[in-house]
Structures are given as C-alpha cells and as structure tokens.
Symmetry: C2
Subunit: 141 residues, 2 copies
DNA sequence: ATTTTCCTTTACGTAAACGTAAACCTTGAT
DNA sequence: ATCAAGGTTTACGTTTACGTAAAGGAAAAT
C-alpha cells in the first residue's frame, strides 16, 4: 500500500472566493502566522489544513476574537500533543476563559434576539398605523 | 398626582465603575452620539436612559456591533413612534439582517463550544499521560 | 508576440476605538 | 489657604485589520 496520499490544494484566489475575503486578507493572515502555505516558485499553495484555519479564523472574527487570539489557540492546539504539564494547564485555563466568554455571548445573543423581535413587532405595528392613516386620507381625499 | 418623578442620575465615574470602562470611553461614546447626558455647569449628568444605552452599546460590542451600528439602531428605535413608512421598512430590513447575523453567531458559538470541549478533553488526556509518565519515573528513581 | 490573468513584494494609507498627556476648573476636606 | 479628588476640553498617539497603489514576474489565451 502507498501511504503517500495526494492532498487537495488551493490557490489564494480559490480560498478568497470560497470565503469571500480578499487575497490581501489571506496574505495578511499568513504574515500574522495564522496560515502556512507552501510555495511553488513564489506562488502560494494552500493545504486543507490552511483552509480549515482560514475558516476558523473567520469564524473567530465573527465571535470577536482578534487574530492574535486565534493564533494563540492554534499554536496551543498544535502543541498539545507534545505539551508539557505547564503548557497544558495554561491551555486548560485559556479554554475555560473562552468557554465563559461563549456562555456570556450566548446570553447576549438570546437577549438581543428577544429585543430585535420586540422592535420588529413595534415596527410592524407602527407601519400598520401609518398605512391605516393613509387609507383614511385616501377616503377623505 | 404629581407627574414629575425624581429620576436617578449618575456621574461619569459611577458609570465607568459599574461597567468597567474608562471615562474616556464614555465621553467618546457621547461624541459619537450614543449618549446624551445633561450638564450641571460643565459636569455631565447621566440619566437611566443613558445608562441603558451604555449597557446596550457594550453588549453590542461584545456581539461585534460597531458603535455606528449601535447608534443607528438607537436612532431608529427612537424614531419609530413617528417614523414614516419608508423609515419603518428600512428599519425592518435592518432588523432582519441583524437577526440573521445573530442566528449565524448562535451557530458559530455552538460549534466553537463543541470544539472547546473537544480541546479540553484532549488536553486533559494529554495531562494524564504526562502525569502517569512522571509517576513511572518516580518509581524508577 | 502581446495582452490578459494571476500571482508576487513593498510600502504607505485608513477607519475604529479608544489611550494618554497637557492644562485647566471646582469643590469639599484638612 | 491649599491640596487632593474628581471633573473638563483639546489634541496627538496607538493598535488592529486590512485597503490601495506601484512595480513587477510568469503563464495562458488571443
């Protein structure tokens, strides 16, 4: 059996299109240590791992993570296999904090969703009033 | 009956302490049109409404809203009572978009929570390995 | 052959959200 | 009276996350 499997690769514009970001953004993420494409000549070649990282980075952004924070998590995740005790405890600490953040965000979102619904209701109501007002005017006119 | 009720007020540092932000931040939010304190001489006096807006602004921030977006929502919310049809439809449009954002964020968070749990498991497992390794060494030593 | 089409690097520019410092009131406590 | 604690304005500085332009290499289409 052959253990060397051919792996899909992506160009920078492949990824840019798929995730709707500019190539500038992708190069910037590399510069910040979030992606590690190989080179063919001077052209960047992205692996599925890079693709996943890009995906995670963007999701992190939506959740208010800075690029530095995402990088930190990636680095830690990579190092867990060979991590020493101190490292691991540190990572557990960070993970705990992130989870607390996420719980807070979950509450925030649920509240905001309620409020958006209320606002929508109020808005629809006001719209009805405006429209029934218009009808009265039409009758009168 | 007296309709003029005395209303609680807050100083800038009251709010700064309560929400753990600097006074600079609070003044900046005023400058951006998010807060509207009255003045006593030149000193700012904040109403409960200001307090709520500060709270909402900060929550918005946690959810990735820009100050401009929060202001937009506040302004629209204030104007709904007297809003004309175009205004109202516009606001409904925005509200719909925000809700879509929130649904996306909800999914993001749930996924991230799963992954954080996985990472934590991996981490704890690695930690156990490290520690059982240590015990072996102690025995041997 | 030359014109697109992608890709590259280098580097300055920018918007958002404050930080920070200077320079100045005012007011209650010592 | 003076001094510390809190308030003010003005204004320049800083970080993050890219945008944008210049200047060019390589390959594929016309």
């Amino acid at each position: 059996m052959n253990t060397t499997t051919k792996i899909r690769t992506y160009s920078i514009s492949d990824l840019a299109k798929e995730f709707d970001v500019t190539t500038r953004t992708i190069r910037f993420y590399e510069q910040q240590g979030l992606l590690n494409p190989t080179r063919q000549g001077q052209t960047r070649i992205y692996s599925p791992k890079d693709r996943v990282r890009l995906m995670l980075t963007l999701r992190g952004k939506r959740l208010g993570f800075s690029l530095a924070e995402s990088k930190e998590l990636f680095d830690m995740y990579d190092s867990t296999t060979e991590g020493d005790e101190k490292q691991l405890l540190y990572m557990l600490n960070i993970l705990e904090k992130k989870q607390a953040d996420m719980r807070q965000q979950l509450r925030d979102i649920q509240r905001l969703q309620e409020e958006l619904n209320n606002a929508e209701d109020r808005c629809l109501e006001a719209l009805n009033k405006v429209r029934s007002g218009k009808r009265q005017k039409q009758k009168a006119g």
